[in-house]
């Protein structure tokens, strides 16, 4: 049974938050399936990473989870309900920070609250409270004191931190990250791994992280899924049973590199076929 498998994130009885049952998605009639026969379940609080070659349907998977696209075949159930349209319980961040350049960091964080209920209708009265929440979130990611800076005054890494904060401000159950660290240099990237790890440890939302960095997947995730070339199928499900809390040092240990090598072998096999 998938859900009772032993993982370091503990609670094996946790509720299933995302459930894919034999899901296909075709963008149009001619192109064939972008992803095919995908079945998996994600527990509440689980940290899932999805790896696979470029164009295999990782972003497509995210669109299905977030309800931006309906499946062509099969069922997608999120939070106990069949998905039919955008879910307000998700927060998303991408490789490009997509902050609004005319808004300060603080006002960029406020954007989701201007859209999602119940914040939208209470924003006027509770602005102070929400800004305090934004400020503490910015502090957790190390952006304290940058509330009133505009995106162009922030480095790429700082913008990406703000972008992740924006994805979390409305306290979503599910955080979707599509190659969020892909454009950053190696040092900044590892720093942000730790930022994300700490955020997740503290708040225990569910994370789906799409990445092409196998070390990133192994360091952060409870479970790694490897996808095949288009049409994307789930080839391997790999549980990362490294103890938590994980420190960056672990990435130099043999048990860690063994996992990375194993994942790489699967990817290598995809390339050859």
């Amino acid at each position: 049974m998938l859900n009772t498998a032993e993982t370091s994130s503990g609670d094996a009885q946790a509720r299933v938050l995302v459930d894919f049952d034999r899901v296909d998605l075709a963008y149009d009639d001619t192109g064939g399936n972008a992803i095919e026969d995908v079945s998996l379940s994600i527990r509440e609080g689980e940290f899932v990473a999805i790896v696979g070659p470029s164009g295999c349907g990782k972003s497509t998977f995210m669109k299905l989870v977030s309800g931006l696209k309906p499946p062509t075949q099969g069922n997608v159930v999120v939070d106990g309900r069949e998905v039919s349209g955008p879910l307000k319980i998700v927060g998303m961040a991408f490789q490009a920070p997509t902050l609004l350049p005319w808004r300060t960091a603080m006002d960029n964080l406020m954007l989701p609250l201007e859209i999602v209920e119940p914040y939208r209708s209470t924003l006027k009265q509770k602005r102070g409270e929400y800004e305090a929440r934004a400020r503490s979130l910015l502090k957790t990611v190390g952006l304290e004191g940058n509330e009133n800076k505009f995106p162009w005054e922030l480095s790429g890494g700082m913008q990406q931190r703000a972008s992740i904060c924006r994805a979390l401000i409305h306290q979503p159950k599910l955080l979707l990250l599509d190659e969020p660290f892909g454009a950053l240099d190696a040092f900044t990237r590892e720093e942000l791994w730790c930022v994300l790890r700490d955020l997740w440890t503290e708040k225990r939302f569910t994370v789906v992280l799409v990445t092409h960095d196998l070390r990133e997947a192994a360091f952060l995730a409870d479970t790694v899924y490897v996808m095949s070339k288009r049409p994307g199928r789930i080839l391997v499900r790999k549980e990362i049973d490294l103890p938590r809390p994980r420190d960056l040092d672990i990435t130099y240990e043999e048990r860690f590199t063994d996992i990375v090598l194993e994942l790489r072998e699967h990817i290598g096999r995809i390339r050859k076929t």
Partner: protein
């Protein structure tokens, strides 16, 4: 980079203008060019002073006609730009029409407008409007229509309605485009008003130049030319300054990437 240079070189355009005027005067005096063909700067200044009163009258007429046409152009341009930019269907339906309309020389409308509204102020206002609203439409529509797909996903996954996206992202994003188009539109509006005045009015700088020309008072014709370009330049600079004030974030954002 571009924003620091003009400060240092601010004297340059003035010096060049002075050089051109001196050259102009020298050629006119040196070759004794007839005042009826090509008046010297001195003769133009003389006309400017001598006819200051009537010139001011005509200039005021041209100015308010232009601003009225420009004002309508801004209103219509904003509405049309919003409609075209906010829906893909409208974009596909109206954009080709707009391009077709834009390729008509606007002076060709003047005879029609004269038949409809008679000689005078109305054709001038309408010509100014017809010629000036197009850049506004295109710019507003472009600003609204270009939304990064990722940002759209972020907003839609939060359950944002189309109107939310337009107001929170589309409008602010199209503002720099809008203000950039204003300075182009105001100069075009001057062109429209003056073109209409030269053929279908009995007031305005266009009319003044036309009638002064037909009585061979070339000093006055050139005086009119100088007045109209001064007005257009002042308005251009005013709108360029407004643009800078309103949308500093757009240019500063770009500076940091350079």
């Amino acid at each position: 980079m571009a924003s620091t240079k003009p400060r240092k070189d601010a004297w340059a355009p003035w010096v060049f203008t002075a050089v051109i005027i001196i050259l102009w005067q020298a050629i006119c005096s040196g070759f004794t060019v007839s005042e009826f063909i090509f008046p010297s700067p001195a003769a133009v200044v003389k006309s400017l002073v001598e006819f200051a009163g009537p010139i001011a009258d005509h200039a005021w007429q041209t100015f308010w006609t232009t601003v009225a046409g420009f004002g309508i152009g801004v209103g219509v341009g904003l509405v049309l730009g919003f409609i075209i930019g906010s829906s893909r269907f409208m974009y596909n339906a109206l954009y080709p029409l707009m391009i077709g309309f834009n390729s008509i020389p606007k002076a060709a409308f003047v005879p029609i407008l004269v038949v409809w509204f008679g000689i005078g102020t109305v054709p001038a206002i309408l010509t100014a409007f017809l010629i000036s609203f197009f850049p506004i439409v295109v710019n507003v529509a472009t600003g609204l229509a270009t939304l990064e797909p990722e940002l759209e996903d972020v907003l839609r996954s939060l359950g944002a309605k189309r109107l939310d996206v337009l107001i929170k992202v589309g409008l602010p994003r199209s503002l720099p485009y809008f203000f950039a188009s204003l300075k182009v539109a105001i100069t075009l509006a001057f062109v429209g008003a003056v073109v209409s005045e030269t053929v279908a009015a009995n007031k305005g700088i266009g009319y003044l130049m036309m009638s002064a020309g037909s009585s061979m008072r070339m000093g006055l014709v050139f005086a009119g030319l100088i007045v109209i370009s001064a007005m257009a330049m002042v308005m251009y600079v005013a709108f360029a300054m407004l643009e800078k004030r309103m949308t500093g974030w757009a240019t500063r954002g770009m500076d940091s990437k350079l």
